[in-house]
C-alpha cells in the first residue's frame, strides 16, 4: 500500500511537484488569513446579558432584575450553568455554554429567551446582550485629547463622532466610551420653592416630559406645491427648559426657572480615565469573536486617520494600549526561533550527511510542512498564537526525522551503486524501493507521535483551551512531514542525489562517531552492572528532583505592558479613588524614567465586558524600549519601584498584565482548588453558615486557610418607610419612592435631540439639599388627599414618614441558577492529600456535623461542592484512560513491530530514563512543573523511543541473519548494530535538540511559555539518546547472553 503510493508518486513526478507548489501557494494564503493573536482565548464560552438600571443598589438589582431575568433564562439549551452578579446600577447574567457550542447559535438562543424574560422586570431597566466578544476582545484603547477642550466636549466628540465611526470598522463588535463627563441638562429644583409655588417634583418631571417633541403632520398643497408640515418642539437649549411651564399659581404661570436652576453639567458617572495625572476621556475597541486582531487594529488605525480630519481643531486620537505590539513581539519571537531552527537543522543535517543537495531535500520538509500545516489550521479553525506556533516550533526537530530516514536510506542505497552508470529507470527503481523500505517506520513514528498527544487533546477547561492548539499544530506538521516524506522526498531525492555519492562508510562524520562509539559500547557491554547502576542512579536523582520541584498552572506570559491595579476597600467614593489614581499616575510618569506612558481607568468602561467596581483602578503602564532603561533595571525592579513609590495607606498595589487581568475579570465561579457554595435566600444566613463551614473544614487534614466570603462591606443608607405614618398622612409608598428616586437620586426624564447628538435631561434637588442625611429629612412628599376641605395638599417632610439608618450591605450579590450564594474558599495542601480524597473527607466531616446538629442548615438552604477539583476530576476521568490508551496503543504498536515481550520490556525501561533527563534539566533551569511542562513531556514521549525502536529492529535483523554462538559473538553483533545506527540516531536527536536551542535561548515575548515546553524534550532526549545507544544494547546483549547461558547449561 505504502510502497504503491511511493511508487506512483515517483513515477508522476511532475504531478507531485505541481500539487506541492499548489499546496504551498494555498498554505501561504492560509498563513496570511489565519487570525493572529498573542495567546489562545482560554475564557469560558459565555454569553453575557447586561442589565443597566442606573443608581439602584445591588439588592434592588438582584431582586427586581437579575432574579426574574435568570428565572426566564434558565432552561436555555446547551447551557452549563447560569451565573449572575448584581452590582451597583447594573447586573450581569453569565450564561456559560457547553464547550463546542456555536457562539452565535448560543447568542440567538439567549435572545429568544430574553425576549420573554424581559417581561417580568421593571420597564426602565435596559437589558441587552453583551458584545459578541470574549475577554480577549479589548484590543485597542485610546484617548481623545485636545488642549483647550473640556472633558464634556471631548466626551461628546467621542460619543457621537469617534465611537460610531470606529464601530463601523469591520471586525469591531463595540466601541465603549470611558471617562470624561457625559453632558447633561440638569434641572436643580429647590424644594422650598416647590412648596412656595405649590407644585410637586412629579409635576416638574411631567412638565419636562411633555415639552420635548418634534412631530410631523403630513403635507398640505398650495399652488401645486406640496409642503411638508413639521411641529418643532425639541429642547435645544437651557432656555428651552427654563421656560417650560409647570402650572399656574395664583394666576401667574410657574416655569422651571421659578422653582430651580437649569445648567449644563455632568451625568452621574461610574468611570474615570486619567492620563498622566490629567483627567481624560477615551474609548476601548472591542473586537468581534473570532476576528483577526492584527487586521482589525490595522483597520481601526486606518479609520482613525480618516476621521481625524473631521475632529475639531487641535483634537486628536491617541492610542494607549495596542495589542499589535504584543502580537508582533510574540510572533516575532517564535518566527525568529523558527527561522533559526530551520537554519540550524539544515546545518546539522549537512554535517551528518555531508551532501549539500541531499540536505536541502530534507530541509525542504520544513517550509513546505509548515505551509501545509497552515492549510490544516485554517480548516480546523486553529488560530496562530504563541501556543499553536509553539507547537510547530517544538516539532521542527522531529519533523525532519522522517525526512532524514527517507533520504538517508535512498542515499545509502544509491551510493551502493555507481550512480553514473545508472539508467534513469534504474535510479527510479532504487529510489522507490529504498523509500518503500522505510515507509512503514515513517508511518509508525507518525502514529506514535499522534497517539502520544491524545492526552493533550482531551484536556478540558483552561488547560485544554491553552494547549489543544499546540497539540493540533504539532499533529498537523507531523502529518504534513510524513506526507512530504512519503510523496515528495523520493521525487526530490531522485533529482537531487545525482553524481558521485560517497558510501556511508567514507563519511567523515560517521567515521568520527564510529571511532568514539565503538570502544565506549565495547566497555559498556563488559561492565553491564555499572551501566545499569548508573541508569538507576540517574533515575533516582530525577525522581528526587521531581519531588522538589514547585508547581504552577501556567508560566505567565510577559505581555510587555503592565497593568497596575490599585484597589480600595468597598465603600470608597469615586472622588477618593480618582484622587488616588491621579496622584499615583503623576508619580509613575514623572519618577520612573522607564515609563513611556501611563493611563489609569477607574470603574467601568461602558461595556458589558468590563464589570470593574469604582474602587478598582486599572492603570496601563507602557514601558519604553529596553535600550532606554536605566542600567541594571529589570521588569521586576520597575514593578517594585512603582509599588514602593506609589504606596498609599488603604490602597493595595496589585500588579498584573492587561490580557491576564481581563481573563480573570470575566471568569466566574470558584478559582480555588475546592470551594463550597452555600445557597439560600438570605445573605446573612448564608454568611453565617459559611463561617461555620469555614471552621469545620479548617479542621480537615490538608485544608489550607479556608475562607468564607463576608457579605457586608458597602455602606448603605436606608430610608425605611414607616407605613402607619405614611397612612396617617394619606401617602402611598410609591409617592415617597418617586421622590427618593428623583429628588435624591435624580432621574434622566427625557433626552434632547440635537442633530446627531442626544443628551439627557435630569431633574434633582439642589445639591446641598440632598447630599447629607440631614438634608434628606427635608425632602417633601405631597399628600394625596387633601385634609378636610383644604385648598391644597400638605407637603410632609421625609423625616416624618420614614426612618433613616446606615447599614453595611453587600457590594455585589452573586447567584447561580437563580439562587444567591456565598462561597467558602479552600486551598488544599496537595502534597499532604489528594484533592479528590480531600473533598471526600471534607464532605464526610460536614455531613457528620450536620447530623450531630452542630451545623444547622435551615429549610431552603443547601450547600454544594465546587472548585478546580471538579476540573481535576474531569481531567482525571479523561486523562487517565486516555494516557493509558495512548500507552497501550504505543505498546501494542511496538509489540506488533517486534512480537517479543522482552524487547518491549527493554523499551519501557528506556522511557523513564528519558523522562528523568527532562526533569533534571527543568530542575537545573529552575522551572516549575506546569501543564506546559507536561505537554513538553508528552512531546518527548513520542520521540524518545524512536531510536531505540530502530536500533532494536537492526539488532533483531542482525541476530536473525546469523545467530551468534558465543558471548563474544553476541557482543560483536551488538556493536555492529550500534555502529550502523549511531549516525542516523545521533542525527535525528541532534536535529531535535539543537533545533530547540533557539527556543531555549530566546528571551522575547512568549519565550517564557515556550521554554518549559522545550526543556523536557532537550533534557529528555539527552538521556534518552545515551540510554538508547548504551543501555539498550547493554540490556539486549544481557538478555541474549543469559538466554545463551541457559541454553548451554
Amino acid at each position: 500500500m505504502i510502497n504503491r503510493i511511493i511508487e506512483t508518486c515517483i513515477r508522476n513526478r511532475f504531478l507531485v511537484l505541481s500539487v506541492f507548489v499548489l499546496m504551498m501557494i494555498l498554505g501561504f494564503s492560509s498563513m496570511k488569513e489565519t487570525p493572529v493573536d498573542a495567546i489562545p482565548d482560554i475564557g469560558e464560552l459565555q454569553v453575557i446579558v447586561y442589565a443597566d438600571w442606573p443608581g439602584r443598589s445591588p439588592q434592588d438589582v438582584e431582586d427586581q432584575v437579575i432574579y426574574p431575568l435568570t428565572t426566564g433564562l434558565m432552561g436555555t439549551p446547551k447551557v452549563k450553568v447560569v451565573r449572575s452578579s448584581s452590582g451597583f446600577g447594573f447586573g450581569l447574567v453569565n450564561m456559560i455554554f457547553r464547550e463546542g457550542t456555536d457562539y452565535y447559535w448560543a447568542r440567538t438562543r439567549v435572545l429568544e429567551r430574553l425576549d420573554l424574560a424581559k417581561k417580568n422586570i421593571p420597564k426602565d431597566v435596559s437589558v441587552s446582550l453583551g458584545p459578541d466578544a470574549t475577554a480577549l476582545g479589548q484590543i485597542f484603547w485610546y484617548t481623545v485629547e485636545g488642549d483647550g477642550y473640556s472633558l464634556e466636549e471631548l466626551r461628546s466628540i467621542q460619543d457621537w463622532y469617534v465611537r460610531y465611526q470606529l464601530t463601523s470598522v469591520e471586525g469591531v463588535s463595540e466601541v465603549a466610551s470611558v471617562g470624561g463627563y457625559v453632558k447633561q441638562y440638569q434641572v436643580d429644583v429647590d424644594p422650598n420653592k416647590l412648596f412656595a409655588y405649590d407644585v410637586s417634583l412629579l409635576h416638574v418631571m411631567e412638565a419636562i416630559k411633555l415639552s420635548n417633541i418634534d412631530v410631523g403632520a403630513k403635507v398640505f398643497e398650495q399652488n401645486s406645491v406640496e409642503y411638508v408640515v413639521r411641529g418643532l418642539g425639541f429642547i435645544k437649549s437651557i432656555k428651552d427648559i427654563e421656560d417650560i411651564v409647570i402650572g399656574v399659581h395664583a394666576g401667574t404661570p410657574v416655569t422651571i426657572k421659578d422653582i430651580g436652576r437649569v445648567a449644563l453639567g455632568a451625568d452621574f458617572r461610574r468611570g474615570v480615565l486619567d492620563k498622566e495625572g490629567r483627567e481624560a476621556t477615551g474609548g476601548v475597541v472591542v473586537m468581534r469573536y473570532g476576528e483577526n486582531p492584527l487586521k482589525v487594529i490595522e483597520r481601526v488605525k486606518k479609520k482613525i486617520q480618516e476621521i481625524e480630519v473631521g475632529l475639531p481643531k487641535g483634537m486628536k486620537i491617541v492610542p494607549f494600549y495596542d495589542r499589535t505590539g504584543l502580537i508582533h513581539r510574540s510572533i516575532h519571537t517564535l518566527s525568529s526561533a523558527l527561522i533559526q531552527e530551520i537554519i540550524i537543522t539544515i546545518f546539522v543535517i549537512v554535517v551528518f550527511l555531508l551532501h549539500f543537495w541531499g540536505s536541502l531535500v530534507i530541509a525542504a520538509v520544513l517550509p513546505i510542512g509548515i505551509l501545509i500545516a497552515f492549510i490544516f489550521m485554517k480548516q480546523f479553525g486553529v488560530d496562530a498564537n504563541i501556543m499553536s506556533l509553539g507547537g510547530i516550533a517544538i516539532a521542527i526537530g522531529v519533523m525532519v526525522d522522517s525526512g532524514c530516514v527517507m533520504v538517508e536510506n535512498i542515499y545509502s542505497k544509491l551510493s551502493e551503486h555507481s550512480t553514473e552508470n545508472l539508467t534513469s529507470e534504474n535510479r527510479l527503481k532504487i529510489c522507490s524501493d529504498a523509500a518503500g523500505e522505510v515507509g512503514r517506520p515513517v508511518l509508525f513514528a507518525l502514529l506514535t507521535t499522534i497517539v502520544s498527544f491524545i492526552p493533550v487533546f482531551v484536556l478540558t477547561g483552561q488547560a485544554g483551551k491553552l494547549f489543544s492548539p499546540l497539540a493540533y499544530t504539532k499533529t498537523f506538521v507531523m502529518v504534513a512531514a510524513a506526507i512530504i516524506a512519503l510523496t515528495l522526498l523520493p521525487t526530490l531525492s531522485y533529482f537531487a542525489l545525482k553524481g558521485k555519492l560517497k558510501p556511508v562508510e567514507e563519511n567523515k562524520t560517521a567515521k568520527y562517531l564510529h571511532g568514539k562509539y565503538k570502544p565506549l559500547l565495547g566497555w559498556a557491554l563488559i561492565h553491564k552492572r555499572v551501566i545499569v547502576f548508573i541508569a538507576l542512579a540517574v533515575f533516582t536523582v530525577g525522581l528526587i528532583f521531581s519531588v522538589l520541584m514547585k508547581q504552577e498552572f501556567m508560566p505567565p506570559l510577559n505581555e510587555g505592558d503592565l497593568l497596575f491595579m490599585p484597589v480600595l476597600l468597598p465603600g470608597a467614593s469615586l472622588t477618593q479613588v480618582a484622587d488616588v489614581m491621579q496622584k499615583q499616575d503623576i508619580i509613575i510618569k514623572n519618577e520612573i524614567p522607564e515609563v513611556e506612558g501611563v493611563v489609569g481607568k477607574l470603574g467601568r468602561a461602558e461595556t458589558a465586558t468590563d464589570p470593574a467596581p469604582v474602587t478598582m483602578i486599572e492603570t496601563i503602564i507602557h514601558l519604553k524600549n529596553k535600550k532606554y532603561w536605566r542600567k541594571g533595571m529589570t521588569r521586576e525592579k520597575i514593578i517594585d519601584e512603582i509599588q514602593q513609590k506609589t504606596k498609599m495607606p488603604g490602597v493595595s498595589p496589585i500588579m498584573t498584565q492587561p490580557i491576564r487581568n481581563r481573563i480573570d475579570m470575566l471568569a466566574t465561579g470558584i478559582q480555588t482548588p475546592v470551594g463550597i457554595k452555600v445557597f439560600g435566600p438570605d445573605l446573612k444566613e448564608i454568611e453565617k453558615i459559611g463561617i461555620q463551614l469555614e471552621q469545620i473544614v479548617g479542621r480537615v487534614e490538608g485544608a489550607v486557610s479556608p475562607y468564607a466570603e463576608r457579605i457586608g462591606g458597602r455602606p448603605y443608607f436606608e430610608i425605611e418607610i414607616d407605613r402607619p405614618q405614611a397612612a396617617r398622612y394619606g401617602i402611598h409608598v410609591q409617592d415617597i419612592q418617586d421622590l427618593i428616586m428623583s429628588g435624591i437620586g435624580g432621574m434622566n426624564i427625557t433626552t434632547t435631540v440635537e442633530g446627531r447628538e442626544r443628551y439627557p435631561v435630569r431633574v434633582r434637588y439642589l445639591r446641598e439639599l440632598r447630599d447629607d442625611p440631614e438634608a434628606l429629612k427635608r425632602i417633601f412628599v405631597p399628600t394625596r388627599w387633601h385634609w378636610r376641605n383644604a385648598p391644597k395638599p400638605a407637603q410632609i417632610p421625609l423625616a416624618q414618614l420614614a426612618e433613616f439608618k446606615t447599614v453595611a450591605g453587600p457590594s455585589m450579590i452573586f447567584s447561580e441558577n437563580t439562587v444567591p450564594y456565598g462561597r467558602v474558599f479552600i486551598n488544599v495542601n496537595q502534597s499532604q492529600i489528594g484533592l479528590v480524597d480531600f473533598v471526600k473527607k471534607a464532605q464526610e466531616t460536614v455531613q457528620k456535623e450536620i447530623s450531630r446538629g452542630n451545623l444547622k442548615i435551615p429549610t431552603g438552604y443547601f450547600i454544594s461542592w465546587s472548585g478546580q477539583f471538579e476540573a481535576e476530576m474531569e481531567s482525571r476521568k479523561r486523562l487517565l484512560p486516555s494516557m493509558a490508551l495512548a500507552l497501550m496503543v504505543i505498546l501494542v504498536l511496538l509489540y506488533m513491530a517486534f512480537k517479543d515481550i522482552k524487547i518491549l520490556g527493554i523499551l519501557t525501561a528506556v522511557l523513564p530514563l528519558s523522562l528523568t533527563g527532562g526533569v533534571i534539566l527543568l530542575f537545573l533551569l529552575n522551572f516549575r512543573f506546569s501543564t506546559a511542562v507536561w505537554v513538553g513531556f508528552i512531546a518527548l514521549f513520542g520521540v524518545a523511543t524512536d531510536n531505540a525502536v530502530v536500533l532494536l529492529s537492526t539488532l533483531e535483523n542482525l541476530f536473525k541473519e546469523k545467530l551468534p554462538k558465543t558471548i563474544e559473538e553476541i557482543r560483536q553483533t551488538v556493536i555492529r548494530a550500534g555502529l550502523q545506527r549511531v549516525r542516523p540516531a545521533l542525527m535525528t536527536t541532534m536535529t531535535t535538540i539543537i533545533a530547540l536551542m533557539p527556543v531555549m535561548f530566546s528571551s522575547g515575548t512568549g519565550s517564557e511559555v515556550m521554554k518549559p515546553m522545550a526543556a523536557p524534550t532537550v533534557g529528555g532526549l539527552l538521556t534518552a539518546t545515551a540510554a538508547n545507544l548504551i543501555l539498550v544494547p547493554v540490556l539486549y546483549s544481557w538478555m541474549k547472553e543469559r538466554k545463551l547461558q541457559k541454553e548451554q547449561s
Binding site: A196, E552, P566, P649, T656, Y707, F825, S875, L880, M1039
Partner: protein
C-alpha cells in the same frame, strides 16, 4: 527479565501519574521587602488572611478575586491600651501620609448652631392686626370698666379681654408678646405694611420642633431678592399644628432697614439654634464633620498620635451643627471618646481606616469602620467534640 520489565513498568506509571497535572499558579511577589512579614492578605478582601507558611506553599492568590496577595508587615505597635474606645491602630510612613493627603487638626470647644431650613413669607396678616386691635380695645374697655367699678361690666370686659387674648394666643402670639401689646397698646402695623422691622411667618415640621425655640436667630432670604439677607429672632410659636400643612407656624421679627421686605414675599428662612450639652454648656467639644466615619453600626474617628501613628477611636456624637465663628463649617459635638487637644484626621481618614483593615493592629472585636463583624468564636460554637482534629 520479566522482573525488570515489571519494575520498569511500575516506575513508568508511578512517574507519570504521581505528579499532579494541575497545580496552583505560583506568582512571585515583587514587593522587595526586607521587613518581617506577618501574614498575607488581599487588597480587596482584607478579611482574607494567609499565613507566611501557606503562602510559601503556593497559596498566593486571593480565593475570591484570584489576585496576588500582598504581605502585611509585622508592626512594632502593640495594642497596649486600656481604653475600650480604641479599636485599632495603624502606623504609616511620612511619604505615605503625604501622598494620601492626610490632614489633621486639634479638636476644640466651640459654640455650635443647629441650622433649620424653613420656608415662610413676610407677614401680611390683617386678621391678626384686627385681632390685636380688638385685644387692645378690649383691654382699654376693661381698664375703663375697672375704673367704673361695676362688677358686671368688669366681668364682661374681663371675659372679652380673655377671649381676645386667647384668640391671639391661638394665632400664635406668645404670652410675652401679648403682655407687651397690653402695655404698648399699639397694633403692629408691620403686619400689613412695610416697616423697619417685619414679621416673618414660617413653618417648621413636627420633627424639627425641638430645635425651634423662642429667641433663636433667623436669617431670612427672600426668593425675589437674590443674595440679600435679613436677620432677626424667633418671637413666638403657634401652639397648634396646622392640619393642612402638617406644620407649626412660628413668628420671627427681622430688621428691615431699607424696607425691602414687603408683606407676602416668599422667603427662605434659616433658623439657627444654639446647641447646648446636657449640662447646658454652650462651649462644646466638637470634631469637624469630615473627621467622622459613620457606618451606622459605629462611628469612628482617627486620632493622630504623632510619628505616623494613628488610633481609631469609637466615639459618640451629637447632631450635626455649624460653627459660625470664622469660616462657617459643619461639626459634630463629641459626647464620648475624645479629649480636648487631640488631633483628629480630617482628610484621608477613609484611606487610613482601610489600611487599618488591611494591615492594622486591631483589637479583637474590630475590623475597621466599613469592615465586618468579628468572626464567631469557633470553640464556643462547637465545644469539645471528641475525635476531631483541631
Amino acid at each position: 527479565m520479566e522482573k525488570i520489565i515489571r519494575v520498569a513498568l511500575v516506575i513508568l506509571f508511578t512517574l507519570m501519574f504521581s505528579t499532579q497535572l494541575f497545580a496552583q499558579q505560583n506568582h512571585v511577589n515583587h514587593q522587595g521587602l526586607d521587613e518581617p512579614i506577618s501574614y498575607y492578605t488581599c487588597g480587596m478582601h482584607p478579611s482574607v488572611k494567609v499565613t507566611v507558611e501557606n503562602y510559601e506553599k503556593g497559596d498566593t492568590k486571593c480565593p475570591i478575586c484570584f489576585m496576588p496577595l500582598m504581605p502585611v508587615i509585622k508592626s512594632s505597635m502593640n495594642m497596649e491600651t486600656s481604653d475600650e474606645n480604641v479599636i485599632s491602630q495603624v502606623a504609616l510612613k511620612a511619604s505615605e501620609l503625604k501622598l494620601a493627603g492626610v490632614k489633621t487638626e486639634p479638636i476644640e470647644k466651640r459654640q455650635l448652631f443647629k441650622e433649620i431650613r424653613a420656608v415662610g413669607r413676610v407677614a401680611y396678616d390683617p386678621q391678626l392686626a384686627v385681632a390685636q386691635d380688638e385685644f387692645i380695645s378690649s383691654v382699654q374697655s376693661y381698664e375703663k370698666a375697672l375704673s367704673g367699678g361695676i362688677e358686671e361690666i368688669v366681668d364682661r370686659a374681663k371675659s372679652l379681654v380673655d377671649s381676645s387674648q386667647r384668640k391671639l394666643l391661638l394665632m400664635g402670639l406668645s404670652q410675652e408678646q401679648i403682655d407687651g401689646l397690653q402695655k404698648s397698646k399699639k397694633v403692629q402695623n408691620n403686619l400689613v405694611l412695610p416697616g423697619d422691622k417685619m414679621w416673618i411667618y414660617g413653618d417648621v415640621y413636627e420633627y424639627e420642633l425641638n430645635w425651634v425655640k423662642e429667641g433663636a436667630y433667623v436669617k431670612v432670604s427672600p426668593l425675589s431678592l437674590a443674595g440679600e439677607e435679613f436677620y432677626g429672632k424667633v418671637v413666638s410659636l403657634n401652639p397648634v399644628v396646622d392640619p393642612q400643612t402638617r406644620s407649626v407656624r412660628f413668628r420671627a421679627l427681622v430688621d428691615n432697614p431699607e424696607k425691602k421686605l414687603k408683606p407676602e414675599m416668599y422667603v427662605d428662612i434659616e433658623i439657627m439654634s444654639q446647641y447646648q450639652d446636657d449640662n447646658g454648656n454652650m462651649d462644646v467639644l466638637s470634631i469637624p464633620k469630615s473627621a467622622l466615619l459613620d457606618t451606622g453600626r459605629r462611628q469612628i474617628v482617627w486620632v493622630d498620635k504623632g510619628d505616623g501613628q494613628f488610633e481609631g477611636r469609637k466615639v459618640t456624637v451629637g447632631p450635626e451643627a455649624i460653627d459660625h465663628s470664622d469660616n462657617p463649617r459643619k461639626f459634630y459635638p463629641v459626647l464620648k471618646g475624645l479629649n480636648e487637644g487631640e488631633r483628629v484626621v480630617t482628610q484621608g481618614n477613609f484611606l487610613i481606616d482601610s489600611q487599618s483593615q488591611i494591615t492594622g493592629v486591631a483589637s479583637s472585636a474590630f475590623s475597621g469602620a466599613l469592615g465586618n463583624e468579628k468572626k464567631q468564636p469557633a470553640a464556643s460554637a462547637m465545644p469539645g467534640m471528641p475525635g476531631m482534629q483541631m
